[in-house]
């Protein structure tokens, strides 16, 4: 049988329509298309895709089940190693992980592994009846700090082994970045809620409104009888550019803008939490978070949204699919541009003018690419005298975060590196016995799946640690 060179397309909402709503962009495969796509898998012996997955999903096995139309069985295979299949199927950068290793990809497009994973997870969520059964308890307690992807994965793996797991969450809702960061149109909140529900059925307890490092310390968790602690507290303080004008009204960090829109539902007309809507926006940065912020601003009614990024399209770190979606929706990419100043309104005649202090423009300098830097990417160099202004009403800074300082400052003996990331060994063990960590709190801003991978590794190490005690 001839190989079909391209992936089966995934239907999406029309760009002109979706730019004005928060519904999901990609609509998912139908069963028929999923089976067709599954047939593209060569089921090769080497299974390079599995090695490309941070949580080692048994990819060829689950795809084989899809091919047979055994969707629930396919789901169970995915779920055996991934606690959040419906999430991963949507937000994993498969093109640099499993799919990049696919044997087909040497000559053609890889199998649409992510699309198939999403399909089986959605199928399960729609059709599965009955609850997940909590396994036999082993009576040992583990505390998880943070309910983002690393924490939920660690919690799920330990709960499946019979541990009594409590997840402590600082915010009022579980899910971490999946709730406050990734927007509805890319990851519907009901999918995250469903995954959290499944964990609860496994016996995982979720305690919201508890800030570890403030409400309770790591040491107190041990006093309370937890035998191990996993810290997955995520990325923390947003980085700013340290250019003049960053305190004008209308300058947001991507974290704040997205949290207001996602967690606090500021996009709704009846929202209690305010957010700036409409007008012109500039988003500074080129990662997935920048794409999310730009597309959120657009959906909130912005008439114009720029992405301002200092390197070229080739270096843009966001997933290709997200960039394409953003372009289709009309986001204006100003590449090889770097902000040097944010300008604000000032009425010299009236210090009480309500417009005073609001953003009016972002001043940028054009860049060109020079020699490669430490990251291997060509270093952007400013072109003298090329400054220009983009008239905007708001600026969203999306240039990364630094790890949250709260736990480190109240946990004696917990070592961090020079930029604040918790230091761990290959098992996720920190400098404190029984304390493990993973995700952005360790690596700085990274992906959902790498955080899940870290949660998984730590869960295995915690299990071994407690069993050998």
């Amino acid at each position: 049988m001839a190989i079909i060179p391209k992936k089966n397309a995934i239907p999406t909402q029309e760009p002109s329509v979706r730019a004005h709503n928060f519904n999901e962009v990609a609509l998912g495969y139908s069963p028929e298309v999923a089976i067709e796509e599954a047939k593209r898998c060569l089921n090769c012996k080497a299974q390079p895709c599995v090695a490309g997955c941070p949580v080692n999903v048994h990819i060829p096995e689950f795809i084989a089940k899809v091919k047979e139309g055994e969707f629930e069985e396919a789901y169970q295979i995915v779920n055996a190693t991934s606690s959040l299949p419906a999430v991963c199927g949507r937000v994993c950068p498969q093109e640099t992980q499993c799919e990049s290793k696919c044997t087909l990809a040497k000559k053609f497009e890889s199998v649409g592994i992510g699309r198939l994973e999403r399909f089986v997870a959605d199928w399960h969520n729609e059709h599965a009846t009955g609850k997940a059964r909590a396994p036999q308890s082993n009576g040992r307690k583990v505390a998880i700090v943070g309910s983002g992807p690393s924490g939920l994965t660690c919690a799920g793996d330990l709960a499946k082994k019979g541990y009594a797991v409590t997840v402590y969450e600082a915010l009022h809702k579980a899910g971490g970045v999946l709730i406050y960061g990734i927007p509805e149109f890319r990851l519907p909140k009901k999918i995250v809620a469903k995954e959290v529900e499944t964990l609860k059925e496994l016996g995982v307890e979720i305690a919201t409104n508890v800030v570890i490092g403030k409400t309770l310390t790591v040491d107190e968790l041990f006093e309370m009888g937890y035998e191990a602690v996993f810290i997955g507290s995520g990325a923390g303080l947003p980085n700013f550019m340290r250019i003049p004008g960053e305190s004008y009204k209308g300058v947001y960090s991507a974290n704040e803008f997205l949290t207001r829109s996602n967690l606090m539902a500021a996009y709704r007309d009846d929202a209690k939490t305010p957010i700036m809507k409409g007008g012109k926006f500039a988003v500074v940065g080129g990662g997935n978070v920048a794409m999310d912020a730009a597309r959120t601003a657009l959906r909130l009614g912005a008439e114009k949204v720029y992405i301002v990024y200092r390197r070229s399209m080739e270096e843009l770190p966001a997933r290709r699919e997200e960039v394409e979606h953003a372009q289709e929706e009309g986001i204006d990419f100003r590449l090889l541009c770097n902000p040097v100043e944010i300008l604000g309104y000032k009425n010299p005649d009236d210090p009480r003018d309500p417009k005073n202090g609001f953003v009016t423009a972002i001043r940028c300098v054009k860049m060109e690419l020079g020699e490669p830097d430490a990251s291997g990417r060509r270093r952007p160099v400013p072109i003298q005298g090329s400054e220009f202004d983009l008239d905007v009403d708001a600026v969203i800074i999306s240039i990364g975060t630094s790890p949250n300082p709260l736990i480190k400052s109240t946990t004696e003996g917990l070592e961090v590196n020079r930029w604040g990331g918790i230091i761990v060994n290959e098992d996720g063990l920190t400098s404190r016995e029984g304390v493990y960590a993973g995700g952005d709190a360790v690596t700085g801003a990274a992906t959902v799946i790498s955080a899940m991978g870290a949660g998984k590794v730590a869960a295995a190490a915690i299990d071994e640690f407690i069993r050998n005690k």
Partner: protein, 282 residues
């Protein structure tokens, strides 16, 4: 859900509540704050802790009814519950090495200043409290301040009660009379704190100010609460939720903080009006 244990109206626009949150009550120290949501879909608002009761697990908050959320909170009664309550957040007020302190509170800021004055009093420091209000009707916590202060001066802007004038007047008098405070700590409207700093500056007395910027998460994630400090002539960004809320008054860029505080002014005014009308209909 977090139960409201007690509720007391301190003046027509300021209410005191005790919320049942034993973990917070056990930990909270003067100067720290909590974040609450009144109901599902509600906004997160920061409020400073005004005291704790270990026996009941109650955390005291005092709030001014200024917007839709505080309006909704004020419509709750003892026995009702609120959706979320998290804390204690922020760094406690530093008290070490202070033998003689002047606490300057303005309006509802006195609710935050009060536990700070109490803490200094408990630690054996000499406490002078200067508290100011717009008028007699807005006066709060006079007895509480009297109980924990070696000296208490009450001011009203319109002279309708106690002494007529701003809090900076008696502060300046005390400094000119040679009072040697180790620290002045001021909590209240930004404009008042700005002038307290200006009053203290010629005398070289350290001033701590308590900032209350707009916040979302309160745990060092969103960056919305950033304040600019001028350190060694250079602007430095700090986050009130994890670095504060207390800062060195001489370093704060007050004008910027005042401007940033008004970003959602229109939204809030509209929301408050809508809330009021809703309640009127009921």
């Amino acid at each position: 859900m977090y139960k409201i244990l007690t509720k007391k109206r301190l003046n027509p626009t300021v209410t005191q509540m005790e919320i049942e949150a034993p973990l917070v009550a056990k930990k909270a120290k003067p100067g720290q704050f909590i974040i609450l949501r009144v109901d599902e879909d509600g906004e997160r608002i920061p409020l400073t802790v005004a005291g704790c009761n270990q026996a009941t697990g109650g955390v005291k908050i005092i709030f001014q009814i200024v917007g839709a959320t505080t309006e909704a909170l004020n419509h709750k009664e003892a026995g009702d519950s609120i959706q979320d309550f998290v804390g204690p957040l922020g760094v406690p007020t530093r008290t070490d090495g202070v033998k003689k302190v002047c606490v300057v509170g303005g309006g509802v800021g006195c609710a935050i200043a009060m536990p700070v004055a109490q803490e200094f009093h408990r630690l054996g420091a000499d406490v002078t409290s200067i508290i100011g209000f717009r008028n007699k009707d807005l006066l709060i916590l006079e007895d509480e301040f009297r109980a924990c202060s070696n000296k208490l001066i009450v001011m009203t802007d319109d002279g309708s009660y106690a002494r007529h004038g701003n809090v900076t007047v008696p502060l300046k008098e005390a400094l000119e009379a040679g009072e040697k405070f180790d620290l002045i700590i001021t909590i209240g409207p930004l404009i008042m704190m700005k002038f307290v700093v200006a009053t203290a500056r010629p005398f070289g007395v350290p001033v701590t100010v308590s900032m209350n910027p707009i916040m979302v998460d309160g745990t060092g994630m969103c960056g919305g609460c950033r304040v600019t400090l001028i350190q060694d002539g250079k602007p430095t960004t700090k986050f009130a939720c994890v670095d504060g809320p207390d800062f060195n008054g001489y370093e704060i860029d007050f004008d910027e903080a005042m401007s940033r505080g008004r970003i959602y002014f229109d939204f809030e005014r509209r929301a408050h009006e809508e809330t009021c009308n809703l309640f009127k209909l009921q």
